[in-house]
Symmetry: C2
Subunit: 391 residues, 2 copies
């Protein structure tokens, strides 16, 4: 919402600026292309081929194991690729994974110029794609629309650099920050438009999770019903394996993958019962307070290829994640109503910061209407000052 005026350019750099503008324009197209597909656990990547100032082909990485974005674009371009410019949002790979190196395909197609959004942040592979192309005489420019290019792969960057899923915290609450009335009733605080949007968000994540309190109180299905797309893996944080066998999550575990994370000393009989219903049970290390160590549990999920995780409550789990700064993004759905039960925790149960300025915050929030509710979302930023250890 800032009004950025035209910037003054020195006349000597006018030509360079114009080339820059052209490259930015095409890279934005590649970035749009890159948003398509469900490539998890690979990153979102988009690519286009431009020849004689015209778009020749576009491609994105649709699914893990299938062609990378630049391969799809080059294949679509056919003979027009020779001498053309390739725009790709992420540095082309130079190693044999499930598919051959993209650098080889780029050289084979005789691409003359490669414009890269951002370098490969993966510390586990020897990037070298850019060097390889330059050594072969291809002109390579790196860092065009770099911020947007990094944003496109933010979940995957967290996944490959920290071994943790990119975590979205979803809260559906009243104006006074409540998720249930004093009787525990929580259906429905927000309206049908907000619920449909939650289902659409679920379809965009590899997994969704709730705490055991919410699993018992709400008996949710956590599936995608009011939006198109597949249901993600369902995860329950359940220290003592209290999830009842007649829970909807358990009863539908053969149709939709369901994982329960518990402590090492959770009862084996409960595990056996859950397993007979098709639920997978994983034991995680305990925290100092004897609960699940959420950080360790998230590492376990990342090891299973979960790049994006949406946590849908309850208050205790949300509080633990915020206190440990593990939540990357917030999605709050706010109903214009006041539930206000005295003596019960609100949507987030944690000690919180000392000063408002120290609180986690969406720095550049997007506010959108969902029926009569609002949906506010964006990446969470945590002030520099250390939060309290109390989780």
């Amino acid at each position: 919402m800032s009004a950025a005026g035209p910037t003054r350019k020195r006349s000597g750099t006018l030509a360079a600026s114009k080339a820059e503008d052209v490259d930015s324009k095409w890279m934005k197209k590649a970035l749009e292309e890159g948003k398509k597909g469900h490539p998890s656990p690979n990153p979102h990547v988009g690519s286009i081929v431009v020849a004689n100032g015209e778009l020749v082909a576009a491609g994105h990485h649709e699914r893990a194991g299938e062609d990378h974005a630049e391969i799809t674009a080059i294949k679509a371009a056919g003979l027009k690729a020779a001498g053309a410019t390739l725009y790709v949002t992420l540095e082309p790979c130079n190693h044999h994974g499930r598919t051959p190196p993209c650098t080889e395909a780029i050289l084979a197609a005789k691409i003359a110029r490669v414009i890269v959004g951002c370098r490969d942040p993966n510390p586990h592979v020897d990037g070298g794609g850019i060097d390889k192309l330059r050594e072969a005489g291809v002109e390579v420019k790196v860092g065009v629309c770099e911020e947007e290019a990094r944003k496109l792969i933010a979940p995957w960057t967290k996944f490959v650099t920290l071994g943790l899923p990119y975590l979205s915290l979803k809260l559906a609450l009243s104006l006074d920050g409540r998720i249930a009335t004093r009787t525990g009733a929580s259906k429905w605080v927000t309206g049908s438009d907000a619920r449909a949007r939650v289902h659409a968000l679920r379809a965009m994540h590899d997994a969704v999770a709730v705490g055991i309190g919410t699993a018992i109180a709400d008996d949710p299905r956590l599936t995608v019903r009011d939006a198109p797309g597949p249901s993600p893996l369902r995860v329950v944080f359940d220290t003592k394996l209290r999830l009842p066998q007649n829970a909807r999550l358990v009863q539908t575990a053969r149709e939709v993958a369901t994982l329960v994370i518990c402590n090492a000393d959770a009862p084996v009989t409960a595990e056996e019962e859950l397993v007979t219903h098709g639920v997978e049970v994983v034991r995680a290390p305990s925290s100092a307070e004897g609960r699940i160590d959420v950080s360790a549990a998230l590492h376990l999920l990342a090891e299973r290829g979960i790049v994006t995780l949406m946590v849908e409550g309850g208050a205790e789990l949300a509080g633990s994640l915020l206190a440990a700064r593990l939540a990357d993004e917030l999605h709050a759905f706010i109903a214009p109503t006041l539930l206000g039960p005295r003596g019960r925790p609100g949507a987030v149960d944690w000690a919180g910061p000392d000063k408002p300025a120290d609180a986690p915050r969406i720095s550049n929030p997007q506010w959108e209407l969902c029926g009569t509710d609002a949906h506010v979302f964006g990446p969470l930023s945590y002030p520099e000052k250390n939060p309290t250890a109390d989780a």
Copy 2:
């Protein structure tokens, strides 16, 4: 946001519909005009004079004691009023108050047609304005844009029919419904844009009020500084007269009128000290719990001519007002941040409803951006089911 298509009209009523449309168009202009001024404790009224299909003059009730809206419009119209149509949002008065009856002026000006938005709801005066005009041969039509006309005078209608101020509840809170951190720090949860809007809201009210907890914790000034307009009367609900003499409210009581409402048994010495600083002290009946009976206190304010009151917290006062269904309108300013202190009440401290569907709600909320915060506002509706008596 609903897409209302054109309605089908039967051909026989086309002419009538057209006259209806013309009258609605002019009445909307009168309604716009009526929003101007600060006529409290009188109602907002707007009026226009139309002759030969053209706007001749407009007027509104600017201030109590000054000309009523239709008088201003008729005076401005001069000789053109003769034979013209007068649009007025509220039934013209027919009694001698601080000004002579408007009906006399309308007849004297030889107005031919009078279009009225809504009838006078005041049970304490014998309306009769419409009858008087009709008896004198003036054509009178009543109920054009009636809903909007009633909305324009909603605060005054509550004031004259129930002897209570129209009460707006203002909350400034985090996404999780908190007004302060665990240390009690509350400056600043919302940003400067939201604060400026709160000041603008203050200027539109006859009085603003806080509970004693907020008065002590925040030491607010409750004046209008970041917006144009006068500072309203400042009111503190202070059962035991705990307001300290060095509070800003007390120290500035000679510049901005300040009223403290306490119980009958509050210490007389405290009252005497406050009075020496220019504070006015009023004793109200007690509730069953020994606190101020908020309903009785509001009646006292109405008796002093307070038509519109904005309550700015704290949680206990807000809770009492909601539980007693005394809040007519809500203004919530929501910062995209999470304060979450465990074990402290949120923005509203009350028992609340049993089911989300029973909660007070803004039925047609307006969501507006205020910097990075949101402002949601609108009249509160209370479900039919009785709320709990617990306040």
